[in-house]
Amino acid sequence: MDDVLLDVRGVTLQYKTQEHLVTATFRVDFQVHRSDRFVLLGPSGCGKSTLLKAVGWYLRPVEGEIRLKGRVVDRAGPDRVMVFQEFDQLLPWKTVKENVVFALKASRRLAGREAVDRAMHYIEKVNLTSFADSYPHTLSGGMKQRVAIARGMAMEPDILLMDEPFAALDALTRRKMQDELLQLWEGTRFTVLFVTHSIPEAVTIGNRILLLSPHPGQVKAELNSNGQDEPDPTTGKTLSRRIHEMLFEDEVEEAIGG
């Protein structure tokens, strides 16, 4: 069990609003191993983002605990870097290069020349070398997300947390970005926890998929994926078909149960 990098145990997450106490997830367990491309998949509102925020410690669990490399997580920190869905996650007052350097310096990972070299290395990995001195507002949505990914990867965190980073992109760009992410992963085999509500994306990106039930999110299944989505020889069903049926089953139950 040495291989377990992130250990989430019995985590219940709640939001307190003015009038309500909303339970977003209920006693969720999962283990992410080193070099996993671990996907959290579930319908909208099932608490995927909330789970990711809890791992990043922007939100505290009311029950259960989260361990990273065996140590209980108790603060936000640069060992878990978050890539958000929003395009405004880049600092608009810094260029592409400065954005990446900023992350390295602010977190005191690297300084001076080394920070710049590391930044340029990862900017090259996402094919944005010629835009290194551009300001974010001059980039397209997909380019901004690539910068955010470069910034996250440059930190070389224990785990990269990605919350639907491609959701706001058009289908074509999205496919390209998925392929690019996989190529990047082949290069360094970083560990990534990836949130999506798209079944094809989960199957393409993930090697392990955690299926969450609708609100409040509970673990429904954990499946392996080889990225191929070929029909299973015994059942004749593809992985995405199986996932689809499992998610659909909920809706039917909900409809019947009222």
């Binding site: 936000a76 920190g77 640069p78 405004d88 996650q89 600092l91 608009p92 602010a106």
Partner: protein
């Protein structure tokens, strides 16, 4: 019955064949596109109207002509008096403005980091913001006597609340994503304010600085009009007041023009440059 239509695939034209993709505009078009050129034109027009009305009225004591005003202005500039008056005013202004902005930064920072700080800012600004700075002048005179101290006091008052309020609301409107990004990279406390909140809120901070400047400049001139008296070397306000007493009305107009000119330069040169170098360059404001 549907019409049969052929499918086709085209190659896109490249190179010169597409005609004009990008071409420079003509000189006039470019000049007219510049805001300063259009404004200069309007200024010239105003000058002409002024001169005409002055000549028509023919009463130096009520409304001197543009020419007479320019001559008075030139005399004041040539004798070096104008420069020294401006220097006095600007120095006091700069002192008051800097103290006001520094205090505003302090207040807004406490407000964003602690809840009691928020309450403090809200209470103080709602009390003092509606109070015209000049209304505090009598009190200031008792506390600091005749002189620079009193003017600086009212200047600080005129700057502080507007800038603090704008900065605070700027901080509050910084997106949640950027906040989380800052915390993700380990920024807390003062570093977080300096590296995330201030630049992210810069459009509203800049707006606050502009409003603060405008308040301060008006307050300064008004305060000087009331009592540049004591100190031998008064500022622009005192220049105006003095010349009115001596019925040098063209000089009064010249003084007013100087007040306008400084306001104009600061707004259209200093702040415009600052804006161009920051929020516009960053695409945070258009």
């Amino acid at each position: 019955m549907a019409l049969e239509r052929n499918e086709f695939i085209r190659r896109s034209v490249v190179g010169k064949a597409t005609g004009v993709v990008q071409k420079p505009l003509g000189a006039w078009e470019r000049l007219y596109g510049q805001a300063w050129a259009r404004k200069l034109f309007l200024l010239v027009l105003l000058g002409i109207v002024w001169e005409a009305y002055g000549l028509y009225l023919g009463n130096e004591l009520l409304f001197p002509t543009f020419g007479a005003t320019m001559k008075a202005l030139w005399d004041a500039v040539a004798s070096g008096e104008m420069a020294s008056r401006m220097a006095v005013s600007l120095k006091v202004l700069l002192i008051g403005y800097s103290i006001g902005v520094a205090l505003a930064a302090l207040l807004a920072t406490t407000a964003i980091t602690t809840r009691i700080g928020t309450d403090l800012l809200e209470t103080l600004t709602s009390m003092f913001n509606p109070l015209p700075a000049i209304a505090l002048l009598p009190l200031a005179l008792i506390w600091f006597g005749l002189g620079t101290g009193s003017i600086v006091f009212v200047l600080v008052h005129s700057v502080l609340w507007a800038v603090a309020l704008a900065t605070h609301s700027g901080f509050l409107s910084v997106s949640n994503t950027l906040r989380m990004v800052g915390r993700n990279y380990g920024l807390t406390g003062f570093r977080y304010v300096a590296k995330i909140l201030i630049p992210a809120a810069f459009p509203s901070i800049l707006a606050g600085l502009k409003i603060g400047w405008a308040f301060a400049w008006r307050t300064l001139i008004a305060a000087e009009l009331v009592f540049g008296v004591s100190s031998g070397s008064g500022g622009l306000g005192w220049f105006i007041y003095e010349n009115k007493n001596e019925l040098e009305i063209p000089s009064v107009f010249a003084g007013l023009l100087a007040v306008i000119a400084i306001g104009f330069v600061i707004e259209n040169v200093v702040f415009a440059t600052l804006e161009k170098a920051t929020v516009r360059k960053w695409g945070m404001q258009h």
